[in-house]
C-alpha cells in the first residue's frame, strides 16, 4: 500500500502495517514475475505461492475498498486503494495470460520437454492438453488426413525423418534487456571471447540463451 494515506481514524493497527509491508514486497515480486514472463522467450517456472498470496491479497483489498466506501472514507484514499487493487489485478491477469499464450504457441515443444512441462501449473497442464487435442484434430482434419500415408505425422515430416522435425520452438538467442540486483562479477557468456562484468543495477542487452540460468534462479531480472 502506498504511504501517504495515514488517516488516524481508519483504525490502523501495528499488524495492519506489518501486513502492508509484506504485501508491498509481494507487489514487487508480482511485478517482477510479470516482467520476466513477458520478456522471456521461453515459459518460466510458475510462481504458485506468489500467485496464491496475490489472489488472497486482492480479495482482502476488495473487502477493504468496500468497507471504506461504506464508511464514507474520503474519495482520495479510496481511489488510492482502488488504484493499487486495479494494478495488482491487471498484473495477475497479464501474467497468466502471457503464460497461456506461450503455451498455445509452443505446446508441442512444451509437452515433449519435461523441464518445460514441469513449469506449468496444474490448470495450465490441463489447458495444454486441450490445446494439443484441439490443434491435432484441426491439423489432421484440414491437412494430414489428405496426405499419403508416410506423410501423416504432425511431428515428423515423413516416416523417414530421424527426429521430430516439425515442432516450433521459441528462439533463445533473441536479445533481452536485463538487470541484476547484485554484482555478479565476470560472467562468461557462450559465444563471446571475453567475459562480461555484470554490475548491480546496470542494464544489459544480452542474448537470452546466455543468461537463461540466471533468470531461472532469480539472480537476474528482465526488463
Amino acid at each position: 500500500m502506498e504511504t501517504g494515506a495515514q488517516d488516524g481514524s481508519s483504525g490502523y493497527s501495528t499488524m495492519d502495517d506489518y501486513e502492508s509491508l509484506i504485501s508491498t514486497t509481494d507487489a514487487e515480486l508480482l511485478k517482477r514475475a510479470w516482467q520476466n514472463e513477458k520478456a522471456a522467450p521461453q515459459i518460466l517456472r510458475f510462481e504458485a505461492a506468489l500467485i496464491q498470496r496475490s489472489r488472497e491479497q486482492i480479495k482482502l483489498m476488495e473487502e477493504t475498498v468496500g468497507e471504506f466506501t461504506r464508511n464514507g472514507i474520503d474519495p482520495l484514499t479510496v481511489s488510492l486503494y482502488q488504484m493499487d487493487l486495479d494494478r495488482t489485478v491487471f498484473l495477475l491477469r497479464s501474467y497468466l495470460r502471457t503464460r497461456l499464450q506461450k503455451i498455445e504457441k509452443y505446446v508441442f515443444h512444451i509437452q515433449k520437454t519435461a523441464e518445460l512441462w514441469n513449469r506449468l501449473s496444474r490448470q495450465e497442464k490441463r489447458f495444454a492438453e486441450r490445446c494439443i487435442e484441439d490443434m491435432e484434430k484441426h491439423l489432421d482434419q484440414s491437412v494430414l488426413s489428405k496426405l499419403p500415408s508416410s506423410y501423416k505425422s504432425h511431428l515428423k515430416q515423413s516416416s523417414s525423418s530421424e527426429e521430430d522435425d516439425m515442432v516450433p520452438e521459441p528462439r533463445l538467442d533473441t536479445y533481452v534487456i536485463c538487470r541484476s540486483k547484485r554484482f555478479l562479477g565476470a560472467f562468461q557468456l557462450d559465444d563471446r571471447q571475453f567475459p562480461v562484468n555484470i554490475e548491480a543495477d546496470d542494464l544489459y542487452a544480452l542474448p537470452y540463451k546466455s543468461i537463461k540460468p540466471l533468470v531461472e534462479t532469480g539472480q537476474i531480472d528482465l526488463v
Partner: protein, 211 residues
C-alpha cells in the same frame, strides 16, 4: 508443380494484414492436395522400377556379377527422381501446414478479443475445421478460466490511473486544484488527479513517478 502452388498459399498469408484473415482458399488448397496425389503416383512407379532393378542386382550378385554401367545409371536416375518427388511432397506438406497453422494462430487471437460467438463477416472466411477449432479453443480457455475463477479476457491494457504520483521540480507554492489544495514545494511527492497534473508535467514543473 514442385511447390509453386503451395507457396502461393503461403504468400497469401504474407500479404494479408496482420491479425486479419482472408477467406480460406478452398480451391488453391485442393489443388495443392491434388499435386500431392500426383507426386505420390510418380513416386510409386519410380519405387516399383527401383525394386525391379534391385532384384536384378541381387540375382546378378548371386552369379558374382554386377549391374551394367547403364543399369547402374538407370538405378541412380530413378533414385534421384524418387527423391525429387519426395522433396516436393515435403514441400507441399510444409506449405499446407503453414497455411493452416498460421491461420489458426490468428483464429486463437480472435478467441481472446471477441465473445465466444464469431461475428458473421469473420465466420464466413473460415473453413469448417477452422470454425470447429475456434469453438474448441474458446471452450478450452473458458475451462481454464472457470477452474481459476478468473476472467482473463478483460483488462487487456494497463489501468490508466485517475490519480498519479509526481515529484515537484520547482517551488511554486500553494495551488488550488480540482479536488485539493496542494503545496507545490520543490522535491515534494504528491498524488494528484491526472487531469490536474498534466499541465504541470508538460511545463516540466512535475516529473511523473512510475510505479
Amino acid at each position: 508443380m514442385y511447390g509453386k502452388k503451395g507457396s502461393e498459399l503461403v504468400k497469401e498469408l504474407a500479404s494479408s494484414e496482420p491479425g486479419q484473415l482472408s477467406a480460406f482458399n478452398n480451391d488453391l488448397f485442393a489443388q495443392v492436395i491434388d499435386e500431392c496425389t500426383g507426386h505420390l503416383h510418380h513416386l510409386g512407379s519410380l519405387i516399383r522400377k527401383i525394386e525391379e532393378l534391385k532384384k536384378i542386382e541381387e540375382i546378378k550378385k548371386l552369379n558374382n556379377q554386377e549391374l551394367e554401367e547403364s543399369e547402374k545409371q538407370l538405378l541412380k536416375a530413378h533414385n534421384s527422381g524418387a527423391l525429387i518427388h519426395h522433396l516436393s511432397l515435403l514441400r507441399n506438406k510444409r506449405c499446407l501446414m503453414a497455411y493452416v497453422y498460421n491461420r489458426a494462430e490468428t483464429i486463437r487471437s480472435l478467441g481472446w478479443a471477441v465473445e465466444r460467438v464469431l461475428p458473421e463477416e469473420i465466420e464466413e472466411k473460415l473453413s469448417g475445421s477452422e470454425k470447429e477449432y475456434f469453438k474448441n479453443h474458446a471452450a478450452s480457455l473458458q475451462s481454464y478460466m472457470s477452474e481459476l475463477d478468473l476472467d482473463l479476457a478483460v483488462d487487456m491494457v494497463p489501468p490508466k490511473d485517475p490519480y498519479i504520483k509526481v515529484r515537484v521540480l520547482e517551488d511554486i507554492g500553494n495551488v488550488l486544484l480540482s479536488d485539493q489544495s496542494a503545496n507545490l514545494a520543490r522535491h515534494a511527492i504528491l498524488f494528484l488527479r491526472r487531469t490536474d497534473a498534466e499541465q504541470y508535467i508538460s511545463q516540466a514543473i512535475f516529473t511523473l513517478m512510475l510505479w
